[in-house]
Symmetry: C2
Subunit: 198 residues, 2 copies
């Protein structure tokens, strides 16, 4: 009788564990890309809770074409599971999502006359590592803040070719500007995954 | 017999649930301040995986005193549980830790002649909400990157009084510069916790 009860408790424990693990997996889904119709990307709504990898001011193509343009801040966030994987290996796992946020710059006369801080959102783009795409990476543009798309199709044709060329020739690791992301750069240096010249 | 077995399974499930919740709580400890000797703060080592709330360039007292000084980037990170609580309530919970990172600015001639990106760490400070301190907030300085302290004592005397005065008179919410943190500012506006004038 005691043995039977013990066995029932053990079976119960096993069921309990399985049940809880299932629930836990359901409430904490993967943080990778959410696709619509296979290749379009649903705009990540929680990327501000992802890992911030770096940013800059006036570090845009626009600034390059027109140096008189008002400089914007750029922030780059990555999904946490991809960040942890990169920190351990120096390479991006399939399912990496990098979000590039552009923000207007504000000034504050009290703290510093010359200083600039980050203001309202201006535009949102994303880059996803996915082996199903010809280059292994897909590029998305969610548009400007006044008309953000909920879902973006992958850039195609000449448009994506420009992304790929620049993200191949001028990036420190794979298709990503790791030279601008200090904690990632240090990890990549340790793992020997930085391209020559960086 | 069937009823007994069922009850044993139910008890087993309950034990299983309790066991797993206990294990889960142990492997995911709180993300609040880790004190040494009661009030000194152990330098958070994982703050780069916390939530990035905002930042700026040249937004420092140093810049204000000497406008010719080379501007630095400032990044502010907060522990995730405090971020989520603020987004829901517009106020900081006890145990909030804000980390201020100062980074050297680099330039990249390819992407933009005028653009600046974030380089090596320069210095690290922190601010903690803790009702045990006279002001309700404590301020810590971990020093410069070449000699970072593992543990910092809370600033005291005239030094902390300067922090408190500035963080009282020139901050949008409580003792924090929420006017520079766009997602937090929006939440605080919705909750009505922004000070008049911001």
């Amino acid at each position: 009788m005691f043995a039977k009860k013990t066995m029932s408790v053990v079976i119960g424990l096993a069921f309990g564990a399985e049940f809880l693990i299932t629930v836990w997996a359901q409430v904490r889904p993967g943080d990778g890309p959410r696709y619509v119709n296979g290749s379009s990307l649903a705009r990540p709504t929680d990327y501000r809770e992802w890992v911030y990898v770096g940013g800059g001011l006036g570090l845009t193509y626009e600034q390059s074409r027109n140096p008189q343009a008002t400089p914007r801040f750029g922030n780059v966030f990555v999904n946490p599971s991809a960040y942890r994987s990169f920190m351990q290996t120096g390479v991006w796992p399939n399912g990496t999502v990098l979000v590039l946020e552009s923000r207007f710059a504000g000034t504050d006369e009290f703290v510093s006359n010359n200083g600039k801080f980050q203001g309202a959102l201006r535009a949102l783009e994303a880059e996803v590592k996915d082996s199903r795409f010809p280059d292994g990476w897909a590029f998305y543009n969610f548009g400007t803040a006044d008309a953000l798309r909920d879902v973006a199709e992958p850039l195609a044709g000449e448009e994506v070719q420009r992304c790929i060329t620049c993200h191949t020739e001028h990036t420190a690791v794979e298709r990503t500007f790791v030279q601008f992301y200090p904690t990632l750069l240090e990890a990549a240096r340790q793992k020997g995954t930085v391209k020559p010249g960086f």
